[in-house]
C-alpha cells in the first residue's frame, strides 16, 4: 500500500531519484576497483548494489520509509556479523580474543566504545582501548571520525541507519505480529542515559571500557572473551543473558528496540547530537489529531505524551509512516514547518542511506562473496 503523502507516484520518477544512490553505492562499494578481482567478488558487488538500490527505490515508490529501511538494516546487521566472525576465524582460528590480541592492541574499535574513552581522552590524553590508532580493521582514528562525522550530520539517525548492531534488535522487534506486552513505561528511555553517565565515569576510574568488558550483548555476534577462568565465564554468561533478554525476548514481547532504547550508552550519546543535526522528525501541530499512533509505533520510546519526538529520536521514520494525517514529518531546521515535506525527507534519505551503504555495505558484500565462493 502506498503512502500517498511521500510516494513519488510514478516508477520512472522513483528510478530517476534512485540513480544518484545507484551512483553512490557503486562508487562507495567499489573501493577503487579492489572488489572486481574475481567473478565471485564481481557478482557479490552487483548483488549488493542492486539490493541496496532496490530498497531505496521501494522507499521512494511506496512512500514508506521504515519498512524498506528496516529490511536493508536487518540484512546488513546479520551479514555484517557473518562477515566479521568469518574474518576472525580466518585470522585467529576463533571468534574469541585472548590476551595476545589485547596485549598487542589488535582489537577492532567498536563505535560504542566512544562513550567510554572520552573522559580519559580529555583528562589523561590517552585512549583506553587495546586497539590500533591507524592501522587494521576498524582502527581507533577511523571509527572516531565516522562516529563524530555521521553524528553531526544525522544526529541519532546513526542508530537507525548506520549501527551494525541495531539491526538485530530491530529484526527481533518485528517478529511478532502484535506485542504481548502492550504498555512499556516510557520512563525506561532514560535508563540509557543513566548507563552513559555511569559507564563513562566507571571506565574513566578503572582505565578500562567497562561496558565492553562486562555488559555489551553484541559480543555474542562479533567477538568475545575466551573462557579461561571464572571471571571470563561470568562475563560470557552476563553477555549471553543480556543478548537473550534485551535483544531477543523483550523486543519480541514488546515490539520495541529494547536494547537500543533503554540500555545502549551510545544511543544516549548520539541523542545529544540531535541538537546539532540539521535533520529532525517533527510534529506539525496544525495537522495532529492526538491519536497517539506515533507513540505506540515508535520503537525507541522517543515520542512524548504530547506526541512530539524527544531528544532520543533515531529518525527511523516509523512514526512518519504510521501517522494518519501526515502530522509527523521529516523536517530541516530553519525551514517552514509543513512545506516541502517530501523534499525534506529526500534530503535526509540520501545521506542516511549513504551511511548505511558505505559503513556496513562492504561487510554485506564480503558476506555475499563468501556465500558465493
Amino acid at each position: 500500500m502506498k503512502n500517498k503523502l511521500y510516494s513519488t507516484g510514478s516508477i520512472w520518477k522513483s528510478i530517476l531519484l534512485t540513480l544518484p544512490m545507484l551512483f553512490i553505492s557503486m562508487l562507495m562499494l567499489s573501493r577503487g576497483g579492489a572488489v572486481l578481482t574475481s567473478q565471485a567478488e564481481s557478482l557479490a558487488y552487483l548483488i549488493t548494489v542492486l539490493f541496496y538500490c532496490s530498497m531505496f527505490f521501494m522507499m521512494l515508490y511506496k512512500g514508506a520509509t521504515d519498512k524498506w529501511r528496516a529490511i536493508a538494516f536487518i540484512v546488513s546487521a546479520v551479514l555484517f556479523s557473518v562477515s566479521f566472525m568469518h574474518n576472525l576465524v580466518d585470522l585467529r582460528g576463533s571468534v574469541t580474543y585472548s590476551d595476545e590480541e589485547t596485549m598487542m592492541c589488535e582489537i577492532p574499535f567498536c563505535h560504542i566504545v566512544t562513550t567510554m574513552v572520552l573522559i580519559p581522552a580529555a583528562i589523561k590524553q590517552t585512549i583506553i582501548f587495546p586497539g590500533s590508532i591507524m592501522s587494521g580493521f576498524a582502527s581507533i582514528s577511523s571509527m572516531l571520525i565516522i562516529v563524530f562525522g555521521s553524528s553531526v550530520i544525522l544526529g541519532r539517525g546513526f542508530c537507525s541507519w548506520g549501527c551494525f548492531y541495531g539491526g538485530w534488535d530491530d529484526g527481533f522487534s518485528r517478529t511478532a505480529r502484535k506485542p504481548f506486552i502492550k504498555a512499556v513505561n516510557s520512563a525506561y528511555r532514560w535508563f540509557a542515559f543513566a548507563m552513559l553517565i555511569v559507564m563513562a565515569l566507571w571506565s574513566a576510574a578503572t582505565i578500562m571500557p567497562q561496558y565492553c568488558n562486562w555488559l555489551c550483548p553484541f559480543k555474542l555476534v562479533t567477538e568475545r572473551d575466551a573462557i579461561v577462568d571464572i571471571e571470563s565465564l561470568m562475563k560470557n554468561i552476563v553477555m549471553f543473558s543480556l543478548f537473550v533478554a534485551l535483544v531477543v525476548v523483550l523486543p519480541v514481547l514488546t515490539k520495541k528496540r529494547i536494547q537500543c532504547a533503554t540500555f545502549c550508552p551510545m544511543g544516549a550519546f548520539e541523542s545529544l547530537f540531535n541538537k546539532l543535526s540539521l535533520f529532525q522528525v517533527k510534529n506539525n501541530e496544525s495537522k495532529c489529531i492526538g491519536c497517539g499512533k506515533c507513540q505506540k509505533a515508535c520503537p525507541l520510546l522517543a515520542i512524548g505524551k504530547d506526541n512530539k519526538p524527544l531528544i532520543n529520536c533515531a529518525k527511523c521514520g516509523k512514526c512518519v509512516d504510521e501517522c494518519p494525517t501526515g502530522a509527523m514529518q521529516f523536517h530541516i531546521k530553519g525551514t517552514p514547518m509543513g512545506s516541502k515535506i517530501t523534499t525534506a525527507r529526500l534530503l535526509f534519505l540520501y545521506p542516511a542511506y549513504t551511511l548505511m551503504v558505505t559503513l556496513i555495505g562492504g561487510s554485506v558484500l564480503e558476506a555475499i562473496r563468501l556465500g558465493l565462493s
Binding site: D99, E100, I128, I145, L278, L347, L355
Partner: protein, 133 residues
C-alpha cells in the same frame, strides 16, 4: 534562511561521502591530536631499556600503573623477549631470573627461585610478558 538550510541539507550527502572517501587524510589529521595514543596501562608503555646479545634482545618498558592520575599499587612492567635468554633481569628495584626460548618462558624470583605467575603471550616477534609490581 530556508534557502541556506536547504543548501546545507543538500550538501550533507556529499559530506557523508567525503568522510569515507577522504578517510586517509582525516586519519592523518586525527593521529596528530594529543590524545591519540593508547593508554600505557593497556599498551605496555614506552620502551626505556634494552638488553641485547648475540642471539637475544630484551626490551624493557616503563612501569605503568592503573588509575586516572595516581600510581596505584596495581602496576606492571612489560618485557618484549626475542630469542633465547637465560640470566638475571633487573626490573625496578627487584631482580628476576629469566629463562626464555622459542618454546617457553619462565620468570622466577632470583632469591627464592620460585616461578612467578605472569601474564605472557607468544607472538610472531617473540614473547611479551607483563611482570606485576
Amino acid at each position: 534562511m530556508k534557502y541556506i538550510s536547504y543548501t546545507f541539507a543538500s550538501l550533507m550527502t556529499l559530506a557523508m561521502m567525503l568522510i569515507f572517501i577522504n578517510m586517509g587524510c582525516w586519519m592523518q589529521m586525527a593521529s596528530a591530536l594529543p590524545f591519540m595514543k593508547v593508554d600505557p596501562w593497556i599498551s605496555g608503555g614506552e620502551v626505556t631499556d634494552s638488553i641485547v646479545g648475540d642471539n637475544y634482545r630484551i626490551r624493557i618498558h616503563e612501569a605503568v600503573y592503573q588509575g586516572l592520575f595516581v600510581e596505584d599499587r596495581n602496576g606492571y612492567i612489560q618485557l618484549d623477549v626475542n630469542g633465547c635468554y637465560e640470566g638475571e633481569v633487573e626490573l625496578g628495584s627487584s631482580s628476576y631470573l629469566l629463562n626464555a626460548d622459542e618454546e617457553q618462558l619462565v620468570l622466577s624470583d632470583s632469591e627464592s627461585g620460585a616461578a612467578m605467575d605472569v601474564k605472557k603471550c607468544h607472538t610472531s616477534g617473540g614473547w611479551v610478558v607483563r611482570v606485576g609490581i
